[in-house]
């Protein structure tokens, strides 16, 4: 089984990489882009019987730093 974890910087935390992408898109003529936030996608291949609670534990302990990041989990 698989799980997909999305990790994003929390709202209110400056994302300089997202800002740089936004500037670049603007410079390329994509003038309707009002904001860009860049995050990570982490795909996990898990042994059968793994639960979302296991993935939550992984997110809390390693995959996300909850001081600055939020995460969401998709069990696939």
């Amino acid at each position: 089984m698989k799980a997909r974890v999305h990790v994003m910087l929390k709202n209110g935390v400056l994302d300089p990489q997202g800002e740089a992408v936004r500037h670049a898109l603007g410079a390329m003529g994509f003038d309707k882009v009002e904001g860009v936030r860049q995050g990570k996608v982490i795909d996990l291949t898990l042994a059968e019987g793994s639960s979302e609670a296991d993935v939550t534990d992984m997110c809390e302990k390693l995959l996300a730093n909850t001081v600055i990041e939020s995460y969401s989990i998709e069990m696939l």
Partner: protein, 222 residues
């Protein structure tokens, strides 16, 4: 007095930090990331700069889960001294020993130059050799040095006089110009600038020496 310097795969300031401790009079041993205990009787642990585990996932994140870091956290929780410089600061925030986190520099560039730091408090074993308000020249060399903590945490750090150093001219976007912070018991210091790179005439400056000398003086009499 005994110091231990942690070595992760990708540490690159470990030997510089060891030399700075040695020159201040410490007996220094190096500890490998896979070790699960610190040497007997260690007074202070140095967590050095570098790019532990290639900065994969987040700077300091994987190092913070290494066997030696569990021992470092226990050492700090027992009231032991610890100094985290640059990547070492990132590691200490990831372990939760120090609050906040280090983000990508606001200007997105890696910055390597000597900056002016203001000593924000002399009330710690690390900063006692300075006067509050002193301006010292210490090199920075980082891509992820942009200190962030939520407003309540920053207010708490300021109210408890736990901001050790601030940037005179903020190079990386750090909140409240913060360059280094102390733990609640004031025995752990994390800072992005490198005092060990300003610890010898050959470095072009010796403004960092006072950190190690004060530490030696105080740890020795404690």
């Amino acid at each position: 007095m005994k110091a231990a310097v942690v070595v992760f795969p990708g540490s690159n300031c470990d030997r510089d930090l060891a030399v700075a401790f040695e020159q201040a009079g410490f007996d220094v041993s190096m500890v490998w990331h896979k070790d699960s205990a610190l040497p007997e009787g260690v007074d202070i642990v140095g967590v050095p700069g570098g790019f532990s585990y290639g900065d994969y996932l987040r700077c300091g994140a994987i190092a913070a889960q290494s066997p030696i870091c569990k021992a470092v956290v226990e050492h700090a929780n027992r009231g032991g001294y610890a100094l985290g410089v640059c990547n070492g600061f990132q590691v200490l925030t990831e372990t939760g020993v120090l609050p906040g986190a280090l983000l990508r520099n606001a200007g997105l560039k890696y910055i390597c130059r000597t900056v002016d730091l203001k000593v924000a408090t002399s009330d710690s074993v690390f900063t006692e050799g300075y006067n509050a308000g002193d301006v010292i020249g210490i090199p920075i060399a980082h891509h992820d040095g942009n200190y962030f903590a939520d407003a309540d945490t920053v207010a708490q750090l300021q109210d408890q006089d736990r901001v050790a150093f601030t940037y005179a001219d903020n190079p990386n976007g750090s909140i409240a110009d913060i360059a280094g912070i102390l733990s609640e018991n004031r025995k752990v210091l994390g800072m992005m600038p490198h005092p060990e790179r300003a610890a010898d005439e050959g470095h072009g400056g010796t403004d960092g020496v006072a950190v190690f000398r004060a530490l030696m003086g105080i740890v020795a009499t404690a």
